[in-house]
């Protein structure tokens, strides 16, 4: 009896030792050489595996970052500058700080502003709805309201507002990974600079139709009138395809465009004080009046010079032709 137990223990231990040795030798022979920095970088990452950086996950990002000559094409939007600083430290690279971004929903078409023109009874998916038709309102560019962006967000930062029928971004939770922007078939959601203390100015509409048609479809749409572009003194607004776009790199947050917009399509958020539209309007109009007067005076002066100079020029010309 005792010998059986002893033999069993001996054989099992022997087998264990033999297998451990085999495994050790195999591991030694087929060892995959991995840069130890990959693991370090991966540990520094947020670990959300969201794909916001453009790689399949945090490991893929770390792998690529270690092999890259610099960090120009690598940026983790979720971890932001903090994480990137750590990554740069590990790899000994230079790191350029990027402005924090946030997802911005560029549609203003609330249920009251944008009347429904048909009833949609199909599958509740923006992707499917967009493949079927332009949408259940007169606007072919606006939010379809089925919440594909909500489903795409891994951080629970987007929710549908039942009152307006539009998605709302929770700025605290939004990591600017861009998943919602990719999920939106109408390309309404844009990643924009978060701005100082979250203050930013944007055109909340992407409708490319001409004014009258747009107005019929939605009361608060951008009608492409161009007033904002004319008002802006920072050259930050471009009007293209009947829709205005504010370049967040150039915007100085003066809020003049917001005050001047006739349809309320331009939104300013997180400003400490509510906007005083009348005061800004008066200021802008005063400035424009002065500019007009100055232009008129300049034109008058040019004319006067011309009147004085013209006979002399004519005289010269005549002589030339005669000669």
């Amino acid at each position: 009896m005792t010998t059986t137990i002893i033999w069993t223990i001996a054989i099992i231990s022997g087998l264990g030792l033999l297998l451990a040795l085999t495994l050790y030798l195999v591991a030694l022979r087929f060892k995959v050489e991995e840069d130890p920095r990959i693991e370090l970088v991966e540990k520094a990452m947020p670990g959300a595996n969201c794909g916001g950086c453009g790689f399949a996950g945090c490991h893929a990002f770390a792998d690529s970052a270690v092999k890259a000559p610099n960090l120009d094409n690598h940026y983790c939007p979720v971890g932001g500058n903090e994480t990137m600083k750590k990554v740069a430290e590990i790899l000994g690279y230079e790191m350029t700080e990027k402005d924090p971004m946030v997802a911005v929903v560029r549609c203003n078409g609330t249920c009251s502003a944008r009347p429904r023109t048909s009833e949609y009874d199909g599958t509740l998916s923006c992707k499917v709805k967009a493949s079927l038709y332009a949408g259940d309102t007169g606007c072919a560019y606006g939010c379809l309201g089925c919440g594909d962006c909500v489903a795409a967000c891994k951080f629970g930062a987007i929710s549908m507002d039942p009152e307006t029928g539009l998605p709302v971004v929770d700025e605290e939770k939004c990591t600017a990974c861009g998943a919602c922007s990719k999920a939106c078939p109408k390309a309404i959601i844009e990643l924009r600079k978060k701005g100082p203390r979250g203050m930013r100015e944007y055109v909340s509409c992407v409708n490319k139709d001409k004014g009258p048609g747009v107005k019929k479809a939605c009361a608060s749409a951008c009608i492409g009138c161009g007033i904002c572009a004319k008002t802006c003194t920072h050259d930050a607004i471009v009007l293209e395809n009947n829709v205005a776009y504010i370049d967040f790199g150039k915007c100085k947050l003066c809020r003049e465009c917001e005050a001047m917009c006739p349809t309320g399509a331009i939104h300013g958020v997180n400003f400490p004080k509510p906007i005083d539209k009348d005061a800004i309007k008066a200021r802008v109009q005063e400035r424009q009046k002065k500019a007009r007067e100055a232009a008129a005076a300049a034109a008058e002066a040019a004319k006067a010079v011309e009147v004085a100079v013209k006979p002399a020029v004519d005289e010269v010309k005549k002589e030339e032709s005669n000669g």
Binding site: T117, T123, S131, L132, A134, D209
Partner: protein
């Protein structure tokens, strides 16, 4: 004899052809027409008229914008008011030519008499050229430019022409009325296409719920056989009523017992399929010089008091057609362009008809109610019904997961969007909605890949070719 039909899948919806007794009727010309520049598969046509121009009926408005494209003609006489974007029936912008109608002044070279021209031109090329100049496109629904279809790529030989008179979609009757009232023209058109293709055999396939049409066409074919050798080899074939028999691949299976492989074209198995209305348009374009400026549209539905089969000028606003017949009925909840199985629900009644518009169907709330969706019970009814031999339940799951590679491996691109899966699903899962979206996505990926491969091949060729060129 066993009734012939296609071999796999298919469903049997009630045919509901309530407008089958309504004779073809010409709709009065509307005060304004909106003629779209993209009424066919392929590149949009390029306009050749300018705002303010006076146009006549049959005058060219736009020329083909590429190899796969078609001429667009004015369907009315009047003044071009504008050329610009306008909302189509799904609410998306489309380029249209707006024409304010003045009188009904036709181009001089169009033969407007009713006399039948039975002599078939000798030269196949001249037939194809006339079809091209007439702007004829496939009127079975896909609006594929007919002259492209009739010019098979080198190396491919057509063995049989199939003229599709199945009209398997419930409710629609315009093909049926065309067969009954314009049978001679359809048969002559068949002979013309046959000549253009240089093929010996042609089959006019009709489902057996249209016995009058089968008998009538048989009689017409027998009568015309004496007119010349071009009319021999035309046969009339009765097929068992089953949806989607009018699908190109299904019809080839039913008539020739051949299967078109995944991604293939009918010409790969020696077949060319054209709709009866296309045959009629070919007849008018070749023998009468009349371009494709009107087409037959069935206006129907149980809740619609006045059923009709109308011949409508291309570009007529839909609400003009409906108002002519008494307006949208109170009970109607959905207006569909086409039949109930494959038709598209209309979001904008101000949109205008196009070459391919085949029907306007009014359905009540009761008829369009969606079944409450429940979980898939793996009963396999959808797979049984699918005429392409796909597994819709699997495609649905893969589409929801967004797995485009697996979707492609499971041939989602072969889906013909007939709706048999959705029709047969006892769990009320919107299979078609989800699968057709996924199909579009996968086909986009495949096209992008093909384009990239082509560009790479050309680049390789250019780099390999340059040293030898020197």
């Amino acid at each position: 004899m066993a009734r012939r039909t296609f071999s796999i899948g298919g469903v049997h919806p009630a045919d509901s052809k309530i407008s089958r007794g309504c004779k073809l009727e010409y709709l009065p010309i509307p005060p304004t027409v909106y003629i779209a520049l993209s009424q066919h598969i392929g590149a949009p046509a390029k306009p050749v008229v300018a705002v303010g121009d006076k146009v006549k009926v049959g005058q060219v408005l736009a020329e083909p914008g590429g190899f796969m494209s078609a001429y667009i003609h004015s369907s009315v006489s009047g003044t071009v008011k504008s050329i610009g974007p306008r909302k189509d029936l799904s609410g998306n912008n489309q380029m249209v030519v707006e024409i304010a109608v003045e009188g009904d002044d036709w181009m001089e070279d169009i033969d407007r008499t009713d006399t039948l021209v039975t002599d078939i031109p000798e030269d196949p090329k001249s037939i194809i050229e006339k079809i091209k100049l007439g702007g004829v496109v496939g009127l079975g629904g896909a609006t594929f430019p007919t002259h492209v279809k009739l010019s098979p790529p080198p190396g491919k030989v057509c063995e049989m022409l199939i003229i599709n008179g199945c009209e398997c979609e419930p409710y629609l009757t315009s093909d049926f009325r065309t067969l009954l009232e314009k049978g001679e023209q359809v048969v002559i058109g068949t002979a013309l296409i046959k000549k253009a293709l240089g093929v010996a055999k042609a089959t006019i396939a009709i489902e057996d719920n249209k016995l009058e049409a089968i008998e009538h066409i048989q009689k017409v074919v027998n009568d015309l056989k004496s007119k010349g050798p071009e009319y021999s080899g035309i046969e009339v074939l009765s097929l068992m009523k089953k949806y989607p028999e009018g699908g190109e691949k299904q019809l080839i299976d039913a008539v020739m017992h051949r299967q078109v492989k995944s991604g293939g074209l009918p010409i790969d198995v020696g077949a060319v399929v054209d709709n009866v209305c296309t045959a009629l348009a070919v007849y008018e374009a070749v023998q009468k010089n009349k371009p494709l400026i009107d087409n037959s549209v069935t206006v129907t539905g149980e809740c619609f008091p006045k059923q009709a089969n109308l011949i409508v000028r291309v570009g007529t606003p839909l609400n003009y057609v409906i108002d002519y017949l008494g307006g949208v009925p109170e009970e109607a909840a959905k207006v569909i362009s086409g039949g109930p199985m494959m038709g598209k629900s209309i979001a904008n009644l101000e949109a205008a008809t196009m070459k391919g518009t085949g029907g306007l169907l009014f359905l009540t709330r009761e008829q369009t109610k969606r079944m409450p969706e429940s979980n898939c019970i793996r009963c396999g009814k959808c797979a049984e019904a699918c005429p392409m031999g796909l597994e819709p339940f699997l495609l649905n799951r893969l589409a929801k997961a967004g797995d485009t590679d697996a979707l492609e491996a499971n041939a989602v691109q072969d889906c013909i969007m007939c709706g048999c899966c959705l029709y047969s699903c006892p769990a009320g899962i919107p299979l078609l909605d989800i699968i057709s979206q996924a199909r579009g996505q996968v086909m986009g990926i495949m096209r992008a890949r093909a384009a990239a491969a082509k560009a790479a091949a050309e680049a390789a060729k250019a780099s390999a070719g340059s040293p030898t060129a020197k």
